[in-house]
Structure formats: structure tokens, C-alpha cells
Amino acid sequence: MTLVNKTTKPQFSYAGNLNLIVTPVFAFLLTLLAVAVWNYSVFDQTTESILQPTLLRTQLWQTIVIGIASSLIVIAVAVPLGITITRRGWPRLKNFLVDTLGLAQALPAYGLIVIFYTFLGTGMRTVIYALALFSLLPVLRNTIVGLEQVDKSVIDAGRGMGYTNLQVLLKIELPLAVPIIIAGIRTAVVINVGMAALAFLVGAGGLGETINSGLKLNRPTAIFIGASMVAILALVLDFLGALAEKYLKPKGI
């Protein structure tokens, strides 16, 4: 047989790699801008009291904790849930869940936080749970889509070779669904970090405090610093997500 000497170039996915370049560039520029504003604008007394470095550090930390914690809950709940309801015999539950969670996302995050407040009172926990529910859908939906887009003939071949159902899930379906599931997680993380700015509503702190004070006291510099810190955080986490997507994606697909 003549060997077909097909030169196979690595597939260059624009969407994937663009993200790896544009996102950090954007985050860097925004950081430069924020540093410039911080260094070169003249702070009045009020601005100075809003933008105390120790305060900002605490708020940044709170935002990170809220964003990460709610995202972890989402992953821990949505991925197993998605796996369970894509197993044979659960089609109705699947539709029901996707519809219901669609409703949860249709509510403003603000409303969701308030609802949770009435049950859980003030504090970080309230925000974390509310955001987890709010961003459950993208991860659940991507888990379902990711698992269902796996070529049926590949699963069939796996079962035909003698993989057990668990082996089919672990060795075929999940690896092939990973890129799509991670994309869902990235969406959820960005949502959660962004929405963590609302945590101040129930006394859970976060960079929303700074933005809110800036708004109330009409201090645009403070608003800008607070908002750009949230944005930079979201960009950095999204970049980490893109990296994870790139390196966790199985070779060959």
C-alpha cells in the first residue's frame, strides 16, 4: 500500500487562540489605565477615604472568594447533575431542569440575591448560593450538550469493544465533552465575578462597595477604579479558563 503522506498541520482555532491573546492584552491595558488614573488624578478627601488600599484589598479578596466559591458549587452540582440526566431513561427530567433553570437565569441576579436574603439573611453565604443558582444553567446546559454531541457511533464502538457504562462515561464521553463543559464553566465564572459586585447589597462586601460609594457620593474616579478592578479580575479568570480549556482539551479533537 502506498502511504499517503498527508502533512497534518495542527489545527489553528482562531476563536480559541484569539482569546489567549486578546484577553491578557485587554487586561493589561485596563490595568495600565487604572494605575495611571490612580497615580495622576488628584484625590479629594472623600475619594481618598473610599479608595483606601486596605479596604480595596479586602474587597478584592471578598470578590474573589465569592466568585470562586459560587463557581465551585456550580461545578460540583451542575456537572454531576448533567451527567446523571443524560444517562438513559431521564429525558423528561432533563427538559424540566433546563426549563426551570432558564427561569432562574431570567430573573435578575439582584432579585435572586434578595430572595436568598429573605431566607439566609446577610452575609457572604447568601450571595454565594444565589450566584451559584444563577449561573448553574450555563454549566448544566454545556455539560448536557457536551455529552450529547459525542458521536453516537463512537459510544457504540466503545460499548461494542466491551467498555462498561462507567468506562464509556469516563474514557469516552467526558473527555470528548471537556472543551464544551469548560466553556460553560468559564461563562459561569465571569458571571459570578461580575455579579459579586452586588454582594454589598446584603452586606457581603466586595468591590461593589467602592462602586456604590462612588455612585452615592458622586466620585467618578472611585467608580472607575472599583469597576476596572472587577473587570480586570473577570478578564484574568477568563484567561485562566481559556488556558485550562486549551490544555485540558484532549489532543486529537
Binding site: M1, L3, V4, K6, T8, D151, S153, V154, D156, A157, G158, R159, G160, M161, G162, Y163, T164, Q167, I172, P175, L176, P250, K251, G252, I253
Partner: protein, 375 residues
């Protein structure tokens, strides 16, 4: 060799209660070492029947025996590891390399690492692919035909006795398909696996099968027999219509040149003088002769007119021989070479290229008329 290896014992399969069964009371025996082809119109239950054997589909009723063991209630995954399975869409794991794909079942069976590695190379060589080139590639880096080959290699990797193949050469261009079929037949000559082969293409069935089961709706066997017997004696109208109008011509692919009686024609041995040649031809009451070289290898067709017309050296007059046949060629090859030949017959030579005789349309026709169904 007529030992039954697989037995489907009155199998029923109903997918949806209330609807007609996809397999109705099927009794089927597959002999050890044979290629049994299941062929039939779309939706008649071929795939279902195949997948019942490795229990990708569980029968509603009935029992399946493998080597006299009732496998209907043993662990399905264990059973499948003992049976090779090639599916139409190939179904290679896209995230695994070719080597990992082929290693699937050996790994499941807990083979040692170096055993697996050696086996992967062996399998790739078996399907005519260079291990060094292909081992580390991913399925997307293969052509369709190469992927099919890997599919077969994967199914054979753990050396199963039984191989199930569902339209394995379905989605491939006719030329590659023909090549894969031939390669596969060559492999099977050495491997002697027990193979159940599904196709909806009667020509493929005739080519590949030691026996063919022609199925109609509900996986009901219309006829099960050797290709020759089915072609010459179709059981009923359904089988006849399924064979199509060209049944006799299809039979040509089953017969070899060695099956027909060769004709001897006048031969001349080079070097020969023109006058001598003309004399020999007229002495034999012929109008042409075959010129052979000193080793009895055919050179050209010489005829009286060509010899009279030119002053060319005798080795350059007459007409060249377009195609030479060998005894192993099929009668279909013979027919097409005769139609191309200037004298309406083709030269048959042995493996060394020595002249054996000629094959004519008449002798071919005689064989066919002799064998055609008397209906």
C-alpha cells in the same frame, strides 16, 4: 469444519411493544471459520441481528449460544471483549491515537504493556499500515480507507474467534472499497475467523461470503446457502428480485479462468520466417496464430493479412496482446479482456508467463448456459 460456533435459537426482538418485531423467531447457525453474510433490504433487521450476537441489543426472547455456551445471561461487557466488532461509521475514538485505539480491548483484558505494544505494531502491519508512520496519529489524520483499516485492526487486536462487521466498507469510494475487500479476503485466508458480515449490497455479499443469508422483513431468512447455489437456484421470487437481473453476470465473479476449458490455437515459436509462418497458419486451416518467444511467453497475434501486407520483421507485425489472464483471475476479468481483444479471445498464461491456452467467448458461454437455472 462444519462445527457450529454461533447459534441464535429462536430469537425475537421487539423494540416497541405493540409494533411488529424487528427480529421474528430467527434461527441461525454460523459455522466456525466461515464468513456468513447477512444481506437484505434496508430496515429488514440486519444490524439488529448482528448486535444481538454481542448483546448490544438484548433479545426479547430466545437464546444465543457461543461455542455451545449460553451467553444470553453472562456479563455483556465480558462477552463483547471476546467478540470483535467493526461498525459502519468506523467509530474510532477521536481523542486517542491509532495505537491507543487498537490497544483498547487488549488493555481491557489486562495485557502487559509490552505485549500490547507489540500487538499494535503487528495489527497495523496486518492491515498494511506502517506502524512508525501511523501509531501516533489521531483518527482525524487518517483517510477514510485508512480509518476503516484501523477499525478492522482494532476489532482483531485481542485475537477474538468471532468478528462482527456491520457494513464495514459502506462509506468508501468503489475503488478503495474493492481494494479493502480484496485485502480482507486475503487476511481471512490466514486468520480463518468466524465472521458475520452485514451488507445491503448483494455484489459485496457474493464476493465476501462463504455463505449468504438473504433476509426479508423481520430478519426472516429467505434463503441461506453458498453464493453459487443462491445464484443458480434462488429459493423464491424475493430472492430472485433481490439478486437482480444480472445474476448470471454476478456469477462470473465467483468462477475462475481455471474452471473453463481452454482452447488451443495455432502457435508459432520465434524466431520464425515469414513463409514458414504463413504455411503453418494455412496448414492448420486457421487465419491467425499466436507468436511465442523462446520461453513460451506469448508475444503477438499474427494473422495472414498482416503477414502478407508488410515487410516488417515478423516480431513487429500483427497485433499486440492487450491483456493476459492467469488461472486465478475471475471470469469477469476474462470477459472484459476478451471484449478488448482483437481476436475475440484472450491468452491465458501461468505464473511464470508461459502460454497455457486461450479463453474464448464460446467456452465462457458454454459454462454459463450449462449452469444457468432451468426455469
Amino acid at each position: 469444519m462444519s462445527e457450529v460456533l454461533i447459534r441464535l435459537d429462536n430469537i425475537w426482538k421487539t423494540y416497541t411493544p405493540g409494533e411488529p418485531a424487528a427480529v421474528r423467531n430467527l434461527y441461525l447457525e454460523v459455522m466456525r471459520g466461515e464468513v456468513l453474510v447477512l444481506v437484505g433490504p434496508s430496515g429488514c433487521g440486519k444490524s439488529t441481528t448482528l448486535r444481538l450476537i454481542n448483546r448490544l441489543i438484548e433479545p426479547t426472547n430466545g437464546k444465543i449460544f457461543l461455542d455451545d455456551e449460553d451467553v444470553t445471561s453472562i456479563n455483556a461487557s465480558d462477552l463483547r471483549r471476546r467478540i470483535g466488532y467493526v461498525i459502519q461509521q468506523v467509530g474510532l475514538f477521536p481523542h486517542k491515537t491509532i495505537a491507543e485505539n487498537i490497544a483498547t480491548v487488549p488493555k481491557l483484558l489486562g495485557w502487559k504493556k509490552d505485549e500490547i505494544e507489540a500487538r499494535v505494531d503487528e495489527m497495523l502491519e496486518l492491515v498494511s499500515m506502517d506502524p512508525a508512520t501511523f501509531k501516533h496519529r489521531f483518527p482525524k489524520e487518517l483517510s477514510g480507507g485508512q480509518a476503516q483499516r484501523v477499525g478492522v485492526a482494532r476489532a482483531l487486536a485481542a485475537n477474538p474467534d468471532v468478528l462482527l462487521m456491520d457494513e464495514p466498507f459502506g462509506a468508501i469510494d468503489p475503488i478503495t472499497r474493492d481494494k479493502l475487500q480484496n485485502e480482507f479476503l486475503r487476511l481471512q485466508q490466514d486468520l480463518k475467523k468466524t465472521i458475520v458480515f452485514v451488507t445491503h449490497d448483494i455484489d459485496e455479499a457474493i464476493k465476501m461470503g462463504d455463505r449468504i443469508a438473504i433476509l426479508r422483513d423481520g430478519s426472516e431468512i429467505a434463503q441461506i446457502d453458498t453464493p453459487e447455489n443462491i445464484l443458480t437456484d434462488p429459493a423464491d421470487e424475493f430472492v430472485e428480485s433481490f439478486l437482480g437481473s444480472g445474476a448470471i453476470l454476478k456469477g462470473l465473479t465467483l468462477k475462475k479462468v481455471r474452471d473453463i476449458e481452454l482452447q488451443m490455437v495455432t502457435t508459432l515459436k520465434a524466431p520464425v520466417l515469414r513463409d514458414q509462418a504463413l504455411k503453418t497458419i494455412s496448414d492448420n486451416n486457421d487465419s491467425f496464430a499466436l507468436l511465442l518467444d523462446a520461453d513460451d511467453q506469448p508475444l503477438r497475434w499474427l494473422d495472414e493479412r498482416a503477414l502478407n501486407r508488410t515487410n516488417q520483421p515478423i516480431e513487429k507485425s500483427g497485433r499486440p496482446i492487450a491483456v493476459q489472464l492467469q488461472p486465478e483471475d475471475t471470469l469477469q476479468d476474462a470477459l472484459s479482456s476478451m471484449l478488448q481483444s482483437s481476436v475475440g479471445m484472450s491468452v491465458v498464461v501461468d505464473r511464470q508467463g508461459k502460454y497455457l491456452g486461450c479463453c474464448t467467448i464460446e467456452s465462457l458461454a458454454k459454462l454459463l448456459v450449462h449452469e444457468s437455472p432451468t426455469k
